[in-house]
Symmetry: C2
Subunit: 361 residues, 2 copies
Amino acid sequence: MSSSRLTVREIARLAGVSVATVSRVSNGTGQVSEETRRRVLRAIEEHGYRPHHLGRALAARRHGAVGLVFPGLSGPYFSELIQGFESEAVKTRTSVHILCTHLRADSDAEVIEMAQRVDGLAVLGGTVSPDTIEELAAMLPVVVLAGDGPAGVPAVRVDNAAAAAALTRHLLADHGLRRLEFVGDPNGSPDVTERWAGFRQAHHDLELPPPRAPIRVGLQQPDGVHAAEQVLRRAIRPQGVVCANDESALGVLVGVTGRGLRVPEDLVITGFDDIPMAALVTPPLTTVRQPVRELAAQTARLLLQVAAGSAEQTGLLHATELVVRGSCGCPRSPEPTPTGRRHTPRSRHSGTNQAASTTTP
Amino acid sequence: MSSSRLTVREIARLAGVSVATVSRVSNGTGQVSEETRRRVLRAIEEHGYRPHHLGRALAARRHGAVGLVFPGLSGPYFSELIQGFESEAVKTRTSVHILCTHLRADSDAEVIEMAQRVDGLAVLGGTVSPDTIEELAAMLPVVVLAGDGPAGVPAVRVDNAAAAAALTRHLLADHGLRRLEFVGDPNGSPDVTERWAGFRQAHHDLELPPPRAPIRVGLQQPDGVHAAEQVLRRAIRPQGVVCANDESALGVLVGVTGRGLRVPEDLVITGFDDIPMAALVTPPLTTVRQPVRELAAQTARLLLQVAAGSAEQTGLLHATELVVRGSCGCPRSPEPTPTGRRHTPRSRHSGTNQAASTTTP
DNA sequence: TTGAAAGCGATACCAT
DNA sequence: ATGGTATCGCTTTCAA
C-alpha cells in the first residue's frame, strides 16, 4: 500500500541531514562521520527507502543496463546464450534487457526504442538490418554476436564455414556419401549463410558437383519435420542431410523415422550446436559443438568494455569442435551409463581454428 | 560518431523558440502555429534529435515499460507466452523487459531491481517467492501468470487440475489403463502442482488406489529422456505415463522408443500444452491445449489496466481443451496432408471449464 | 564532515 | 500561440 515512495529529501529531513549526505551514505561515496551514517542508515531502513532509478540514472547519465536483441527464443541455444551473457553482466551490476523481435516487420524501430533505455546493445547477427546496425552504432556501443557488423562494430563469432566444411568432408570423404542435402535457410541468419557456404565448399574441395539448392526451412523442430516431408517426396532420396542446427536435425530425425526410414542406414543426418538432446536421441546426433555460453559471455564482456570506454578488440573468433556420434553412420559409441551424462564425443576433428582475437593497432 | 546527443534546449536555440514549444511539437500536445511547428520540425530532423528517455520518464514519472519475469525460456511455450504478452504491450506503446531468473539463488533481488525500472510486473507462477511477490505488489502493479499470488494480486490461469483429471480419466476409464505414472516435479511450479493434483484426483474419483510418487524431473526434453530411463528400470513397467508438459513427454517418447518400446502398444504417453511438435511426432501426442498466447495477452491487458489505474478484475480463469491423438492408444487420425498443418485434433472432451472472470464488488 | 545549490533532460503550468 | 520557470529524484561540485 505504501506506494508513495520517499525521496532523498524526505529521508534527509527525517535524519536531520542534507540530501547530499543521504546520497553519500546510500552510495558509500565521500566521507561521512560514523554517527551521521548510522542515523541516515536507520532512517533508510526504517522507511524502506530505495533511491529512485530514474533520478539516479538521469544524474549519472547512464542506465546501468545493456540490451540483448535476437529474433526469437525457442530452444536451448538461446537459453544458453542468455545465461552466458547475463553471467558476465551481473558481475558489473548491469542489468540485461532482452528484446526478441520475432522477425516482426517494425522490429528495427523497437530496437531503436530500446537503444534509448540502455548503455549498450548486443545484437544477434541477422536480427536487424545493416543500416539499422550502423544507425545504432552511432548512438551507443554495439557488438554483434554470431554475425558480422559494419566496419567498426566489433563481432564475436565462430568460423561456421570451416566447421560446416569439416563436417561435410567427413560425410563425403570418410563415409563416401554423395547426394547430400542442406536443410536450412541461408537467408535466415549469418550463421546459416556460412554453414551453407562451408557445405558447398567441401563439395568443391573434393571436386564433386555442387549440391542442389537448400531446403529452406526455419531452425526449430517442426521446421525439421517439414523438411523431412520434402526429403521423402524426392524422386531420388538423398543419402544424407546436413541440417543448419540441431533442433531442425531432430525434427528431420523424428520426421523420417516416423515414416519408417532407418537412420543412419537409409539416411544420414547431422546437426550443428550440440544441444543436450543431440546426445540423447537414437541414434545420437553427429554435430558441431560451439561454445555458445562462452561466446555470449565474451560478447557481454566486450560490450561492457566498450561501454566503459576501455576496449581495443574489434572482434573475436571462437573455436568449434566436430562431435562424431552415430547419426552419420560411424559405429555407435557404447551406450552411456544411465546415471551419468557421459556422451563420449569421440571427436575426430577438433578445433577447426584456434580462438583468435584480432586487435586494433 | 555524433554520439553527443542534443537536448531540448539546443533544438530550441537552433529553431529560435523556447523549450516549451519544442516539447509541444515533439509530443504533439498544445497549440503551435503551423509556421513555428515547421521550423521546429526542421531543426529536429536536421539534427536527428530524439528526446532523451530518462528525462522524459523522470518528468512523467513513468517508465513506459513493463516487466515479464519467468524461470527460463527454452521451448515453444515461452516463445508463445512472450509473443502474446508483447502483442498487447505494443498497442499501448509500452515496451517489455524480460527477466529470466534461471532459478538463480539471488533471483528475487534481480526482480526487485527490475521493479524499479518498470511500471508493472507480470510474474510467472513459482518464479519468485510469495513473500517477494507481496513486497513487489506493495511497490508497483503486479499480475501473476499461471499461478496464484497473495490476496489482492490478480492472477491469470487455467484450471490445470481439472484438465489433468479429465486427461487421466480418459486413460483410466476409456482405455482401462492401470499403473499410470506422473512425470514432473510438483514442487517445480504451480502448473505442475495442480496437474499432479488432478492426476491423483482422477484416481480417487474412480476409486482406484492412489498412484505412486511422481518421477521428479524438469520440463525440458532431456528431462523426459531421463524420466524414460527411470521408467525402464522399474521392475513392473507402468502402462502409461502422464507428463507434466509436452516437451518432457517428447523426451520420454524419444527415450522409450530408442530402447525399442512401442508407443502406445507397450506404453501410453500424454503431454500438456499442445506445442506444435505434439502433432508431428509418431505417434502424435495426446495432450491438453491451453491458450498460452491468449493467456499472456490477457495478463498484459490486465497489468496495463492496473497500471493505468483502471481495472476491477481480480483474476481470470481460462478454458482448456483435451486433445486426443494417438499416443494414448486411441485410433490414429488420418495422416495430415503433407502440405497443410491440419492436425485434426478430434477432441473428445472440450472446455473443462468455461472462461470465467471474477470481479471485485 | 557537512550543506547549499547547480545541474541531468524533459514536461507542463502559468503568464503573456 | 509562445515563453519563462518550477519540477521530477538524484548526484556532485564547491564552500563553509
